[in-house]
């Protein structure tokens, strides 16, 4: 597909400069801030308001200003001819470790004080590969080594922006929780620190919640008395200081509903456990991640208003996913649970449209409901559904344009736009899309990018366990696999 550049002199100059830039450096297009663009005459899949044939989408300064037929724009606005193409919202992945520098701070069962925002690699070419698959927003998550891990970072794949520019600033804060085998293996079995069992996991959560409530009370009392003392130093005694505790402040924010919980989980019993804990503490609007056995407790999840973000078909790589079914997403959906399909993988993230199509095969849900599982449903789980996840006026111009029905295996993503800017264009694609290729890697370093070794050996862990066992495993030889 070609973009017709504006016909003004300035536009021509820009086009020429872009062209020469392309030939001289062959650098991929990098993010330049919100743009305006008119996408003409595509089959527009709004997700929330049906499919609109022969329809235009007009984006002004990164925001969708019009969806309709025969829309016009000023001459200086670039036009994309989408005739015969399918225009859909950019794909949203509610579970990714795409470009983390490190993934697990596996040193304590609770590490709420840290944030994955300090672990973003803005140069990772994996972002471009995800863009090529139509993905525009990801939930960049901490790993699953800890019961309460770090706060996550909702990112827009503004390829070329720095680690601050990548962040979806308007998105609410989310945090990673993890139940089951991973935290019990890392802490209880690994270092002898509770939890070693699912009993211990529940206590870790309840105890830190209680600590946070008590901390809040003491800290507030201290602040109140401090204020009163400062106002009337002679009448009010000076307070005994209560130090600020970031870990407990974050936990307190969870209890106040300011931070959304995304909880790594597999078994039905542990899922119900957390539902009960959250009921006791009044925590709402949370999402179970992976949740391979969520289908067993779908009615309970629906009643609690909990969300589920699941694999399309991964199972059997560890015991807690042995009793799985690829019908999980469809069962949850039929029971009224808001469900998304995620990748947790730098491979799957490149074809989430195909992963969504599997829910049609395994459960026969409608095409639109399947696409909702990679667009508006994950947007709801990340608290950004008022901005992205569907094509509606007022929402962000995050769009992918496909050669055919995106649920078809023969469909190819032709273009991906973030904030109205084309950041992937198959026709003007770059053989080498790295941003930092000036850094010369030696051949031996290049070699280790291969993941075929993992495919050959099969999976033993979720990607969320990356880095969790560095202390134990670094230097291990032939059978070691860098879980991604």
């Amino acid at each position: 597909m070609t973009i017709q550049k504006s016909t003004t002199l300035k536009g021509l100059l820009t086009a020429v400069m872009m062209l020469s830039f392309t030939y001289v450096w062959a650098q991929p297009t990098t993010y330049a801030g919100p743009q305006s663009v008119l996408i003409k005459n595509g089959l527009v899949k709004t997700i929330t308001q049906g499919d609109l044939p022969n329809t235009d989408v007009y984006i002004v300064n990164g925001i969708i200003q019009g969806i309709g037929q025969e829309l016009s724009a000023p001459a200086n606005i670039p036009v994309i001819d989408a005739t015969g193409k399918v225009v859909m919202p950019g794909i949203i992945d509610a579970h990714s470790h795409l470009n983390t520098v490190s993934t697990n701070e596996a040193t304590s069962p609770v590490t709420a004080e840290i944030t994955i925002k300090e672990s973003i690699d803005p140069n990772d070419v994996a972002m471009y590969q995800a863009l090529a698959g139509g993905v525009t927003t990801i939930n960049l998550m901490h790993g699953s080594a800890n019961v309460i891990g770090a706060r996550n970072a909702t990112l827009k794949l503004r390829y070329g922006a720095d680690q601050f520019g990548l962040q979806f600033q308007e998105a609410p804060q989310t945090i990673k929780f993890a139940l089951g085998e991973n935290p019990t293996r890392v802490h209880g079995q690994g270092t002898g620190v509770q939890p070693r069992t699912r009993m211990g996991v529940e206590r870790v959560i309840r105890d830190i919640f209680d600590d946070a409530i008590e901390y809040d009370r003491q800290r507030q009392a201290y602040l109140d008395q401090k204020e009163a003392h400062e106002r009337r130093p002679n009448r009010v005694a000076p307070p005994v200081p209560v130090a600020k505790n970031l870990r407990l402040e974050v936990i307190s924010d969870i209890l106040k509903g300011n931070i959304l919980v995304h909880c790594h989980s597999y078994r039905a019993d542990e899922i119900v456990m957390l539902v009960n804990v959250f009921k006791d503490y009044g925590v709402e609007n949370y999402t179970f991640q992976h949740a391979n056995e969520a289908f067993k407790v779908a009615p309970e999840l629906a009643e609690a208003g909990a969300n589920a973000s699941v694999f399309s078909d991964w199972w059997a790589y560890k015991f807690e996913v042995y009793y799985s079914t690829a019908y999980n997403a469809a069962i949850l959906h039929e029971n009224g649970v808001n469900t998304s399909i995620n990748s947790d993988s730098n491979e799957l993230i490149r074809h989430l449209n195909h992963e969504a199509a599997k829910v049609v095969r395994y459960g026969g849900i409608s095409a639109n409901d399947a696409l909702a599982m990679i667009t508006i449903n994950p947007a709801k789980q990340l608290g950004i559904d008022d901005m992205v996840g569907s094509l509606e006026v007022g929402k962000h111009g995050d769009i992918s344009i496909w050669s055919a029905d995106p649920l078809s295996i023969y469909a190819v993503n032709e273009m991906t736009l973030v904030d109205g800017q084309v950041l992937f264009n198959r026709e003007a694609d770059f053989a080498d899309a790295r941003l930092d290729r000036a850094i010369s890697y030696d051949q031996s370093f290049e070699d280790l990018q291969s993941e075929v070794s993992e495919a050959v050996r099969g999976r033993q862990d979720d990607a969320c366990m990356e880095d969790a066992f560095i202390l134990f495993e670094s230097g291990l030889q032939t059978e070691q696999t860098h879980n991604h």
Binding site: Q129, E181, R350, G458, Q480
Partner: protein
């Protein structure tokens, strides 16, 4: 199942259970499946036949008898007598079952639970370890795989330098022997890598080169020994030599390579390593080679074609180098096929071998084309393993390993309606369908 359904109305619910129990025993204790397959003479009518080796027959007829394909033709009813099970294939397509040439299916039940993994024996040279003996016919992954259209796989050991002997099996049978097509399909070796093993690999360039050269020396020594052993025993067997040397199990297993009964499957991925393996292979003109993995095969496709070495490749992996084009893994198989390489596709997986048709779909979309991709999961692997007289196409006399699909089998949204393996009509039941059945409407009491 069709027959059972017909009988169903004659019995009350409890009566049915009693009758079923009498005939089948307690079906629920069966590990592999909970329903028995149907066996007999089948006639599949009004079906679009995709034989792979010849043109599509619209609205044709296939007859399955005694486990084999007895008839393939246009919609003229063949003369059949006796009990015949008729299957209406209207609006459906019939394909040969898909074949995955490198999996750990049956050897690996739960990846992280090591006591359930029988794919990696101790030691680095294990040609005498035969996968078939450890294939668990009751593996939960087997029904999950076959109801999605994959009827045959090679189960292959993974570890060491010489991992062991991979076995080609049907995904139906109550014993490994019953499942067996060729227990000595190939001996799988892991070609030594000349690169670092990961970011944590702290070896110096010099150490890496030293270890690599030692591994190559080990391979050369092993094959020199095996060749000498084989030559010696050939001489003894033809009475040219009168001796009674000790029998060596490892060397005995290697002999199948020199008799061309087993192929030597070299797992190799990186360009540099593929070239090294190619050079080594040209010095071994008494072996039948297959290269597996070949993630950078597209870089040396002409050389692979020139050497006439068939490959096993996959599609759904990330690019092997960060500088690679994003679509290179999708394109790899097609680039090799277009250069004239004989390509078979694989998932290189265990529990999700069912995704093989999707690997083919991606390869098809990104340059291989549907026709060639179809061959890469049917007749090509059959040829690769020397069983194209039994598998890989819908031709009279071949095994009735067939799949009936409601559309394009590479399309994710298509559904596999029926699967035949050795003429058994397989129940379309797996753990995944059973859990769906139980939990979709969990609290319904009827």
């Amino acid at each position: 199942m069709t027959m059972n359904q017909k009988n169903y109305t004659f019995f009350s619910r409890s009566g049915w259970v009693v009758v079923m129990s009498l005939f089948l025993g307690f079906a629920t204790v069966e590990a592999q499946i909970t329903e028995k397959p149907q066996y007999g003479t089948f006639i599949i009518e009004n079906v679009d036949i995709y034989p792979v080796t010849s043109d599509v027959i619209q609205g044709g007829v296939v007859v399955v008898k005694d486990g084999l394909i007895e008839y393939v033709g246009s919609n003229v009813k063949p003369d059949l007598t006796g009990d015949i099970i008729r299957i209406d294939g209207s609006g459906h397509r019939l394909y040969p079952g898909f074949i995955d040439s490198e999996t750990q299916l049956g050897l690996n039940e739960i990846g992280a639970v090591t006591v359930t993994v029988d794919a990696a024996e101790v030691g680095s040279v294990n040609p005498e370890m035969i996968a078939q003996t450890a294939v668990n016919p009751g593996s939960v992954s087997i029904p999950v795989t076959r109801v999605d259209g994959v009827t045959n796989v090679v189960a292959a050991p993974v570890s060491g330098l010489v991992s062991g002997t991979g076995s080609l099996i049907d995904l139906y049978g109550y014993t490994p022997e019953a499942m067996s097509i060729d227990q000595r399909a190939g001996i799988y070796i892991n070609w030594p890598s000349s690169g670092k093993r990961g970011w944590w690999d702290s070896r110096s360039e010099k150490e890496i080169a030293k270890e690599y050269n030692e591994a190559i020396d080990q391979i050369n020594e092993l094959f020199d020994d095996a060749r000498a052993y084989h030559t010696m025993w050939q001489a003894i067997e033809t009475d040219e030599l009168d001796a009674q040397p000790d029998v060596n199990a490892k060397m005995e297993a290697m002999r199948y390579l020199f008799t061309q009964e087993a192929r030597l499957v070299v797992r190799v991925n990186r360009e540099k390593d593929i070239l090294a393996a190619l050079e080594w292979a040209t010095q071994q003109d008494d072996l039948s080679f297959v290269f597996s993995g070949v993630s950078e095969g597209w870089r040396v496709a002409d050389k692979l074609a020139e050497a006439d070495i068939p490959v096993i490749a996959t599609a759904l992996v990330t690019p092997s180098r960060s500088s690679d084009h994003y679509a290179r893994p999708y394109q790899n198989a097609g680039l090799m096929a277009n250069a004239g390489v004989h390509v078979s596709l694989s998932t290189f997986n265990t529990e999700n071998v069912r995704n093989l048709p999707f690997h083919a779909g991606y390869a098809a979309t990104y340059g291989m084309g549907v026709e060639e991709a179809l061959k890469a999961v049917t007749i090509n692997p059959a040829e690769l393993w020397g069983v194209d007289d039994k598998l890989g196409s819908i031709d009279i006399g071949k095994h009735a390993n067939l799949i009936l699909v409601d559309g394009d089998p590479f399309e994710t949204t298509s559904t596999i309606k029926d699967v035949f393996i050795r003429g058994y009509r397989i129940p379309m039941v797996s753990r995944h369908t059973q859990l769906n059945q139980e939990f979709l409407d969990r609290d319904a009491t009827n």
